[in-house]
């Protein structure tokens, strides 16, 4: 303010703090001393300090703002979720050192600290990702807030006998999050271990409380053993024994994991479904969808007839509807219900109209998981049956190839050894082309000539069964001549076994026929031969495998494809012989992968015996062509799985014949020239 400034400079006065109005009044009086003012007698008076007084004046208007401010924040809104309490399982006491059988097994990863830990770097973490069908924030947060699997499994809360591989962590996390899943890893990559570990996590996280695991009968001991190794704290109850005992087991409270074979499941559920329908329950499929429920009648354990019972109409739907398990607790269900049903070797249900597939789909459940190394054995459409069980397609739907491919991306996880097991010792396949012995050749040629002649004479009565019988006959002669007992394959096998036994190695031999296996057993005795096929009672099977593993004098085990091809861990064997060939390379691969799997420490040599200029050579060519053709179905990286067994047309084609159809002959597949065959 200019007035105040002039006052300060001229008079050396300080502002009085009386307010602007007072100062301005005072300043106006003092400016009379400025130059240019007339000097009169009043000048001395003017030089006297003015008399200043101050008084408070009330402002005419109130101030327009609040002189104080109180911090005021709106209410903070929150959102939250509580995680369900999991099942508390009692940890198992550690066994004495050296007592644990697993100590003899090979660790799949060293126990020592990882490089990242040594270097102080952040170790790799596998986060559980929300599934695509988790739409609500709560659902997504549930998965996002789970700890990384490495933290969860590193030995604090869950004991892992071996450190899983990275791809296994990913598989475990995927199984944990999916309500519908098909784990289709190639054989030998640890599907069993991934499933068991995912089960542990699901039980701990309170996501499942009751689980049914269905597998082929020969694999029951295998699952029991794997559970003991990977999740000893989880009590596993096997559904077995007579009907009364099984009935109690099905409904036993507190049994977290039930283990049953397909035959038992079909038989018992059929019985229970029949009772439920008799009692007026309106059945749906196991996921609560309306569908036709099939009931087969058993008398004394034998199936005697089938009845198809349709679900009743909507008007009764809410009264006695069954099942779908936990989603409809108000509807008491007479069938045992599960939070999760796991199908091992799920290709057993590939025929969606089979009694097995229909019955399996009727099991009340919330989550469905399939395990198989061969999701397609014959036709891509086989996946439809698995997808229907998983609940990702409606009952009876027939998705086309494009739709199947889309569904596969979301619901199938498949890894091959080529992609993930870069450090797995190689599998060396060699086709052993063997000349028939003289006696075999004579017998073979005579049988073929006679057989074809008979087939031609049959005319329109010729069936695939007739041709099939001839094929089997010729394959058997290729194995050995029944008349003279001569066998070129045996000579080759004996030569190889001399070397294998001398070096302390172990070999697995697969054959299609138990008769051949029994014939070979006598001749393989010098090599500590053991036999494992469907004729061996189940209780005796495990001791045979244990002996083969532990007895240094036991160098070879003879197995049938049907019993020995699936689920067994024989990675200590470095040699596999396919004495005769199965119709489907996928089954052969399963057999080979008993030895070539995680834990094998050296290369696996696979010898496929093929007799030259015989039906075996022709079948091998056809199968190789088909293997190439179907390599595309499950992706470029898949070089072992997709394959077809021989169709009727192709079996006729082995003899340059045409398949018969009701409307006449129809050439399904012309015989390929030898030079075109793969």
């Amino acid at each position: 303010m200019s007035g105040t400034s002039t006052l300060d400079q001229a008079q050396g006065l300080q502002p009085l703090g009386l307010g602007d109005d007072a100062i301005i009044t005072c300043a106006a009086a003092l400016t009379l001393n400025a130059p240019g003012i007339h000097i009169t007698g009043m000048n001395s008076a003017l030089q006297r300090p003015p008399m200043v007084s101050a008084e408070a004046k009330v402002l005419l208007n109130a101030v327009g703002f609040v002189p104080s401010w109180r911090p005021s924040w709106g209410k903070v809104r929150t959102f939250g979720l509580t995680f369900p309490a999991g099942i508390e399982l009692i940890p198992v006491k550690p066994e004495e050192p050296g007592q644990e059988d697993a100590s003899a097994l090979k660790r799949i990863a060293p126990e020592k600290p990882t490089k990242e830990e040594v270097d102080g770097e952040t170790a790799k973490r596998t986060k559980i990702r929300p599934p695509q069908d988790a739409l609500s924030v709560q659902d997504r947060l549930f998965f996002l807030l789970q700890p990384p699997l490495e933290n969860w499994l590193k030995g604090q809360e869950l004991i892992m006998p071996f450190e899983p591989f990275q791809y296994q962590y990913e598989g475990i996390g995927w199984l944990f999050s999916q309500k519908a899943a098909l784990l289709a890893d190639e054989m030998g990559l640890g599907k069993t271990m991934q499933m068991i570990t995912a089960l542990r996590l699901l039980l701990r996280a309170g996501q499942v409380r009751r689980v049914l695991l269905v597998c082929p009968k020969p694999l029951i001991p295998n699952w029991q053993r794997e559970f003991k190794m990977w999740a000893e704290e989880i009590p596993v109850t096997t559904v077995e024994g007579d009907g009364h005992r099984r009935n109690i087991t099905w409904r036993m409270p507190g049994a977290h994991v039930l283990l049953a074979n397909y035959e038992v499941v079909v038989r018992d559920y059929q019985t229970m479904i029949a009772e439920a329908i008799k009692n007026g329950h309106n059945l749906r499929d196991g996921l609560g969808r309306r569908t036709e429920v099939e009931c087969q009648t058993f008398i004394d354990g034998e199936p005697v007839g089938q009845t198809f019972l349709s679900a009743q109409g909507d008007q009764q739907a809410d009264k006695n509807v069954c099942p779908t398990g936990l989603s409809q607790p108000e509807a008491p269900c007479p069938l045992p219900q599960f939070d999760l049903v796991v199908l091992d070797e799920a290709q057993r249900t590939k025929n969606r109209d089979s009694l097995t597939a229909r019955t399996i789909r009727s099991i009340p459940r919330r989550r469905s998981v399939c395990l198989t190394g061969t999701p397609i054995e014959n036709r891509p459409e086989e996946m439809s049956s698995l997808f229907e069980f998983m609940g990702v397609i409606p009952p009876g739907a027939n998705p086309d190839i494009r739709q199947l491919s889309q569904l596969s991306k979301e619901f199938i996880l498949r890894r091959t050894k080529d992609l993930v097991m870069t450090d797995l010792p190689p599998r060396l396949d060699r086709d052993e082309i063997i000349e028939l012995s003289t006696a075999q050749r004579v017998a073979y040629d005579a049988a073929e000539k006679e057989g074809i002649m008979k087939l031609n004479e049959m005319g329109d009565e010729l069936s695939i069964q007739n041709v099939f019988e001839l094929v089997l006959r010729l394959k058997q002669i290729s194995n050995y001549d029944p008349l003279t007992q001569e066998s070129s394959k045996l000579e080759r096998l004996q030569a190889d076994m001399e070397e294998i036994a001398a070096s302390g190695g172990k070999a697995i031999l697969f054959s299609q026929w138990t008769k051949t296996i029994d014939w070979l057993e006598q001749r393989m005795r010098p090599y500590g031969c053991l036999v494992y096929h469907g004729g061996i009672p189940t209780p005796k099977r495990e001791p045979i495998l244990t002996k083969f593993k532990n007895d240094p004098d036991s160098h070879i085990i003879l197995m049938s494809y049907g019993t020995g091809a699936v689920g067994l861990n024989l990675q200590f064997a470095g040699y596999v012989f396919l004495y005769d060939r199965w119709w489907n390379p996928a089954v052969e691969d399963q057999a080979i992968n008993r030895a070539h799997r995680i834990g094998c420490k050296s290369q696996v040599i696979v010898s496929k015996f093929i007799c030259k200029d015989t039906i075996e050579e022709r079948i091998d060519k056809v199968l190789n062509e088909k293997r190439d053709m179907f390599r595309r179905v499950l992706g470029e990286g898949d070089n072992t799985n997709a394959s077809l067994s021989l169709s009727a047309g192709e079996i006729f084609g082995l003899f340059n014949m045409k398949a018969r159809t009701p409307k006449g002959n129809k050439s399904i597949r012309p015989a390929a020239p030898a030079k075109d065959a793969a």
């Binding site: 401010w69 911090p71 924040w73 903070v76 809104r77 929150t78 959102f79 939250g80 979720l81 509580t82 995680f83 940890p91 198992v92 006491k93 550690p94 973490r125 924030v137 997504r140 947060l141 996002l144 807030l145 789970q146 700890p147 990384p148 933290n151 969860w152 030995g155 604090q156 809360e157 004991i159 701990r204 996280a205």
Partner: protein
Amino acid sequence: MAQAAPKAQLGFLGVVNVAGTGFVGGLLVTNQLGRPLEFQCTTPVKPNRTQEILYGPTLTSFVCAELIGKTLFERLQVKPQLIVCDQLEMLALRSVISLPVALILPKSAKAEEGTIRAGAHQLRLHADFVGDLEVLTEIAKSFPGDADLIEPLERVREALQETLRAGAAA
């Protein structure tokens, strides 16, 4: 085989400041092994201009600790025994709740008075609450030696991003 360690419940508090949206906080309660028990998070809190001017440099601490942290703590059904954070401003939460609040120090931090080793980390407590050190010492016995206390905070932040994405999509 796992040792029978005493059980503890830990709270992990994280707040993110999203430009244009505001502060969003999350509090995750886990057991001593990192398994989640409860999660609470806030909707965005956006200070206005007046609040920014008047709170000045204390704004972040006030919003994170007294506003968001305290609210989340009060909402919890599963009460933790310790709140862990990795932002200095959060330590002020200790003044408004009756629970120790521990700040995770950087890996380069050396052990000094007022800090304690827990799991793989050095923790600092609020200087005004000397009794917390004793409480934390007791709780830290339940931690595995290599317990990673940073990782749950990463989960919290990932969950907050998810809620923000869901909020934006809604």
